[in-house]
Symmetry: C2
Subunit: 379 residues, 2 copies
């Protein structure tokens, strides 16, 4: 019930145009998945995600396991029904959050022992347990439990993490029973090309319907991230989707698409919106800045989102400063549309055969600019 | 540009069906105005207010004066453009918030000196200043500056407050220049029938196009509130709208409608939503309660709101407990729809000639029920 169709590969870059088919519909790739950590996209409804061009939502197994628990969600018929989204959903394995959110965690060969960040309860997450939870959640794509090594990480530890990731992938594959769900493997190997190669090679044995590249965007510099993607993507089968986990800034996504990545997820558009950090076609706007106090222009005159159609910078700054709950929502809508429009543009230019040109122009536009000195003082 | 048409008076009660016409459209009365204190209805858009059956939004002059300031709003062309609502808007005078929000306030015969609750800045609000601000805000209905006496209040002080309210009404009327805006007077007099009568009589001299009853729902018991409404409403002209400020619970609104009130505003539906206190056709639900953890039913099976159509109690409880910003919004939509549906039902039955029956049945349904002892412990 899961297929991936590679529709086109760009002539000048490694960028790919494709289509994933799931029990909950089709997804045009490259795709950016909107994050709905605890069963809700922050401040907006799944309906709005769709209206903004979103195709897919990502749920976090760690959060959903702790609260409300997979059994409560299963009682609704699964995560789709629980959150009221009939499009495709992906859940991660829970492993990453264990490393990033739990103060105490201990990796053993069988799994990870950790404390809930909510109430300190001790939990033991094994590959089998992760799959069991994800089966109850019922997402269309589920992920193997992996060990996301920290950065920096010495080669010896990184090698152990790769070995564990392979061993766990085997156990996940064995535990995976629901054919309606596609189980993806995750390539680890930190910033070491030989380990990335080994991890990919070992996982290919299991013939997963899709592969993720994990353990990046964890602190390494951007160039290293691009290098790792450049090395790893070609090791993965051309006829299966490739998912770069947790990435990233708009420019990171563009670069990774050019290196052959099909799927992305990141908290940046939604989290940055809540902090008043807004993406526009002419650079980033910090809506708090006093310069927007009386600015009656839209956030971005080139943006087609409903917020730019109806509200001024002055209004958005006012409700942001006044801590109005509506501010989070309106700013989230704008930022998410920026990301989803970027993905639509990428797909359009891939289809059109003009991706290389688009890539080069957009790269220039997305280049971080030095802040204007006057504005910096005001912040 | 402002008219009120009294369409029907109920045969058995004093309830009235009417229509207000403003430069921004018509309003069927009795009407509940949705509160958009600082230029935003908490967590929802003006578009959603309309979709839920809302006809009118109330803005608070005190809040908007402090932030972002009436000049910023005037630069947008007024509050309608600023908040993106093309329906009728009412602004209050700012007086009430001075009394309720400012730690230090001093009433003189000319106005009120107070400190901003935001930054402690000292501000002097006079009748002329209140009108000047409200003219810049550009609402369809604006209010005279009045003195809302505290409760309890001795007759002597209440009498002084009435005298000041009359004096200020005169100054407001003189300062009021914009004919596009209708200026309403506010009857004060605390819980003293003779003072209510005197206040009404004095204000009638100014021939305002509408009258409010102020100084109620400030701590007096419900019976007293109803008595004051019952005494005051008939003192006001039948051909002008009557607005009971800051009221109230659904049952208060119903009772006040039966006593001849046409307009209402209250923070309860929106504020209670944010605290997980939800109105349903079978009583109030505290969504935090553990009993809803696995409850896959809608909040209210008799409710026609989009939240009841799409989400379970279990889901709403989960996102409320997880502090998801979406919770505030969905719960606000539900509660606001409850209020606006009540108003639609009231108008329907007034039109239909079946208000008395509806009033008696709904009164029974809205009666506060004793909490179930078991549930109270869990809270």
């Amino acid at each position: 019930m899961f297929t991936f169709t590679l529709k086109k590969t760009d002539k000048f870059t490694r960028a790919r145009l494709g289509e994933i088919e799931t029990p909950h519909g089709k997804v045009a790739t490259p795709v950016f998945m909107t994050i709905g950590t605890a069963g809700a996209v922050k401040a907006i409804t799944p309906e709005e995600v769709k209206q903004l061009g979103g195709q897919m939502i990502l749920g976090n197994t760690y959060h959903l396991h702790l609260r409300p628990g997979e059994d409560t969600i299963a009682k609704h018929g699964g995560l789709h029904q629980f959150i009221n989204f009939d499009g495709p959903i992906l859940t991660d394995s829970g492993g990453y959050q264990v490393f990033s959110l739990s103060k105490i965690n201990k990796v053993t060969f069988d799994g990870i022992r950790f404390q809930s960040h909510l109430d300190g309860e001790e939990i033991y997450l094994t590959p089998e347990k992760s799959i069991e939870i994800q089966q109850k959640l019922g997402a269309d794509i589920i992920m193997c439990l992996d060990e996301c090594a920290p950065y920096p990480c010495d080669p010896k530890y990184a090698e152990q993490a790769v070995a564990r990731t392979t061993a766990w992938a085997k156990l996940c594959k064995r535990a995976h029973k629901t054919r309606k769900q596609a189980l993806f493997g995750i390539v680890q190997g930190s910033v070491y090309p030989d380990l990335r190669e080994r991890s990919a090679k070992e996982l290919l044995e299991f013939d997963f319907p899709g592969y993720a590249i994990g353990g990046l965007a964890v602190g390494e510099n951007t160039g290293t991230m691009y290098d790792m993607v450049e090395i790893t993507a070609p090791l993965l089968p051309a006829d299966k989707p490739r998912y770069l986990m947790g990435v990233g800034k708009p420019e990171n996504i563009l670069e990774a698409v050019a290196r052959g990545i099909d799927m992305f997820d990141c908290v940046l558009p939604t989290r940055n919106a809540r902090h008043g950090y807004l993406y526009t076609s002419h650079g980033v706007i910090h809506i708090k800045n006093a310069e927007y106090k009386e600015d009656t222009r839209p956030l971005d005159k080139n943006c087609d989102c409903p917020v730019c159609a109806s509200y001024t910078r002055s209004y958005l700054r006012h409700i942001f400063m006044a801590d109005e709950p509506l501010a989070q929502r309106l700013l989230t809508i704008h930022n998410l549309r920026f990301y989803l429009k970027l993905m639509q543009d990428i797909r359009f230019h891939l289809q059109d055969g003009t991706f290389k040109d688009f890539y080069q122009k957009t790269k220039e536009k997305l280049k971080p600019r030095p802040p204007k000195p006057k504005k910096v003082k005001r912040k």
